[in-house]
């Protein structure tokens, strides 16, 4: 009998299997650490201390977490409608332009809390605009969204390169970046949040966008599981033919889903652009869009799972940076390896352990 049709209780499906996959990913990453002559257990310990040991470390961890929540939600929303959005990277990049334009035009005149809502809208609009063409191509012309969103990552990268190098650069400066936003264009740091737990934020760039990210998690949950639109999206994702019979308009849902997905990715830019560096820099996304794929997979496309997975990757990013100071033989890029392993085991090899676990479960329960 095939094991694929056996249903497992939720705690195995959503607890044990992802955890085992994660353990496997860390095992193989540990092998790499061991192969270059360092102690993997010591490395893991240093990584955890670096990420969670002090208030500043936690601040950095949550800063990275914020970005990954946005991109993770972006990927997850698309997946619920059966669309694979690999373009979060580019959408976030263009979203940065939206946020920066708002900040540059308002920061002289108004305080940050007036700028912020416009910046959120600006970032989301630009992110959504970047997703709009691939969405339209998928909805109306049947082009594969995976391919077109990959293409748009590169198109946006060239576009932003042009915009920063030619248009927004500060005259006389070499670095392709905008001027520094005044206080009216910055998001405030969340010192009080860390202070609440008795730590000190220090130089960590944890900022207000963390709270926006948490709010978005809630809104996405409402959208997917508590609205008609979310129901239609999930129907389309599970069975396009059933959706069609139920009178759900394919093109409309694809367009709306991708615009929301792009908008969420665009909002990610608030965190680094307005929260951390207070300027638009070249390549500021730095792969966070791709991490979103891993986060969404690990979090099983559910906002609660996405928060946990984003936290995991936040720990990896911050801990990995600290680790490279303590163990110079291990470079920062070790986190890229771990990321790859996590995507491989938790994503692509998701079902590898399932047959064995089903057999074990059947033996134990005697069914």
């Amino acid at each position: 009998m095939s094991t694929a049709s056996v249903s497992l209780p939720a705690w195995i499906n959503y607890g044990v299997i992802p955890l085992l996959n994660l353990v496997l990913a860390f095992f193989f990453s540990g092998l790499v650490v061991w192969a270059i002559g360092e102690n993997p257990f010591e490395a893991l310990q240093l990584l955890l201390i670096g990420a969670l040991g002090r208030g500043e470390g936690i601040g950095f961890t949550l800063f990275y977490t914020t970005s990954f929540i946005f991109t993770g939600l972006s990927v997850a929303v698309a997946i619920h409608a059966g669309l694979f959005n690999i373009g979060s990277e580019g959408q976030a990049y263009l979203g940065g332009l939206g946020a920066a334009l708002v900040a540059l035009s308002l920061d002289h005149y108004v305080p940050w809390y007036v700028t912020m809502p416009f910046a959120v809208i600006g970032a989301a609009l630009f992110g959504a605009a970047c997703a709009a063409i691939p969405a339209w191509l998928q909805a109306k012309r049947g082009s594969h969204i995976v391919i077109t969103t990959i293409m748009f990552n590169f198109i946006v990268s060239s576009l932003m390169n042009y915009v920063l190098v030619r248009l927004l650069i500060v005259p006389g400066k070499m670095a392709p970046e905008t001027r520094t936003f005044l206080e009216g264009g910055q998001l405030p740091k969340l010192d009080w949040l860390i202070a609440l737990f008795g730590g000190r934020l220090g130089a960590a760039p944890l900022n207000f966008s963390f709270l926006i990210a948490l709010l978005m998690c809630f809104l996405v949950w409402v959208l997917i599981w508590r609205t008609k639109l979310g129901y239609e999206m999930r129907t389309l994702g599970i069975s396009p033919s059933a959706a069609s019979y139920a009178g759900i308009r394919y093109a409309k849902i694809v367009m709306i889903t991708m615009l929301i997905s792009g908008g969420l990715a665009g909002m990610m830019a608030l965190n680094p652009v307005m929260g951390a560096s207070a300027r638009l820099q070249i390549e500021f996304v730095g792969g966070a869009g791709f991490v979103g794929i891993a986060v969404s997979l690990m979090g099983r496309n559910h906002p609660a799972g996405i928060i946990l997975a984003a936290l995991l990757f936040g720990i990896l990013y911050q801990g990995g940076a600290e680790l490279s100071f303590d163990m110079p033989r291990i470079t920062r890029d070790m986190i890229v390896v771990i990321q790859g392993m996590v995507i491989l085991f938790a994503g692509a090899l998701e079902y590898m352990l399932r047959p064995a676990i089903v057999r074990l479960y059947q033996q134990v329960t005697g069914k």
Binding site: S2, A4, V32, A35, I36, G37, F84, I86, I133, L137, R141, G142, S143, H144, V146, I147, T148, I150, M151, F152, F154, I155, S158, L159, N161, Y162, R166, F290, I293, L297, R329, I330, T331, D333, M334, I335, V336, V337, I338, Q339, G340, M341, I343, L344, G347, A348, L349, E350, Y351, M352
Partner: protein, 323 residues
């Protein structure tokens, strides 16, 4: 310099820039025609570039480097196969994962072994594929038109360049004139029919992925020890994705793949040439337009405005034998 000389020099550099694209796009051709989407081409190229640079550095033998590059790319291909064929995982996810693993591993291992910020050591001249001067190139040089074309574009390339162009008819022959090729194309369109005919879908797809790894290994090797003399951080720099675009632009057919790669290589060379120069009438053209053009062209093609690009029907769908 007159316009013809400029044209010759751009053409020469276009060919050099299109070779890694050509190998990679042909690699992708085999896996996608067998129904396995492969966005991990970038990672395979990068990993094999690293492996070939390492081995060529230690052995001083370019062919050993090529062997290592091919072997590495095949290993990556097999992991992709294990995930997407045996475990029926998501092929896109698997490709993304392998790109990450390759990007990280090459830097981590490179730094641990060579300690030069992710660079490998400088490969000695005998460990590289250097240019071959074809017979009569010097004699021909003074012949108008054909002479410079022969001496500067056709002659003087390294052996991998000639192999790349040879691979085009070979790929065509394998795909369209052999039993393996017929079955491979069938398994990408209708794996159920292939299964009914008593042929193993999995084994066929695995073999297609071995070919993919083999060709991607050439691409990485070309980058590391033919075009340059060491592995440099992230040296594939998105070429795997351009190759994927070229493959789609060519509608998954071998000979058009060659022309698409040459076109994209030409755009790249032209962008390099145009850097900081201005055209009459138009003025200075931003180089970023040329960098984005391959992707824009591919999207326009995918939109169905210049013919229809129809991917293999079973692409991206894992095959489940029993229902």
């Amino acid at each position: 310099m007159d316009y013809f000389d400029i044209f010759i020099s751009i053409l020469g550099s276009a060919i050099r820039l299109s070779i890694p694209l050509l190998f990679t796009a042909l690699a992708g051709l085999f896996s996608e025609r067998a129904g396995i989407f492969d966005i991990g081409l970038e990672g395979k190229m990068l990993a094999s570039a690293f492996a070939s640079a390492c081995v060529a550095y230690y052995t001083g033998n370019a062919w050993a480097g090529l062997g290592a590059g091919i072997l590495t790319a095949i290993v990556f291909s097999m992991v992709h196969g294990f995930a997407s064929i045996t475990n029926r995982g998501n092929q896109i996810v698997s490709g993304v994962a392998l790109n990450f693993v390759a990007a990280g591993l090459t830097i981590v291992l490179g730094q641990a072994w060579f300690n030069q910020g992710g660079r490998t050591g400088q490969v000695p001249p005998e460990g590289r594929f250097s240019g071959i001067v074809l017979p009569g190139a010097d004699m021909m040089r003074d012949v108008p038109i054909i002479g410079p074309l022969y001496a500067n574009v056709i002659s003087g390339n390294n052996i991998l360049t000639y192999i790349a162009f040879l691979m085009v008819p070979v790929s065509w022959w394998v795909l369209y004139r052999t039993r393996f090729g017929l079955r491979l194309r069938a398994v990408g369109e209708n794996p159920g029919a292939v299964d009914t005919a008593g042929i193993s879908v999995s084994w066929l797809r695995y073999r297609a992925l071995i070919v993919t790894g083999f060709l991607a290994g050439f691409a990485g090797t070309y980058l590391a020890i033919a075009q340059s003399a060491a592995f440099i951080n992230n040296m594939s720099a998105g070429k795997g994705y351009i190759a994927l675009a070229a493959l789609i632009f060519a509608k998954w057919k071998p000979v058009p793949v060659m022309f698409a790669c040459l076109l994209f290589g030409f755009l790249d060379a032209f962008a390099n040439f145009m850097q900081g120069k201005s055209l009459p009438l138009i003025g200075e053209v931003p180089v970023q337009i040329f960098q984005a053009l391959p992707y824009i062209l591919t999207c326009v093609l995918l939109a169905g405005f210049i013919g229809i690009a129809r991917p293999p029907k079973a692409g991206g769908v894992p095959y489940a034998k029993e229902r």
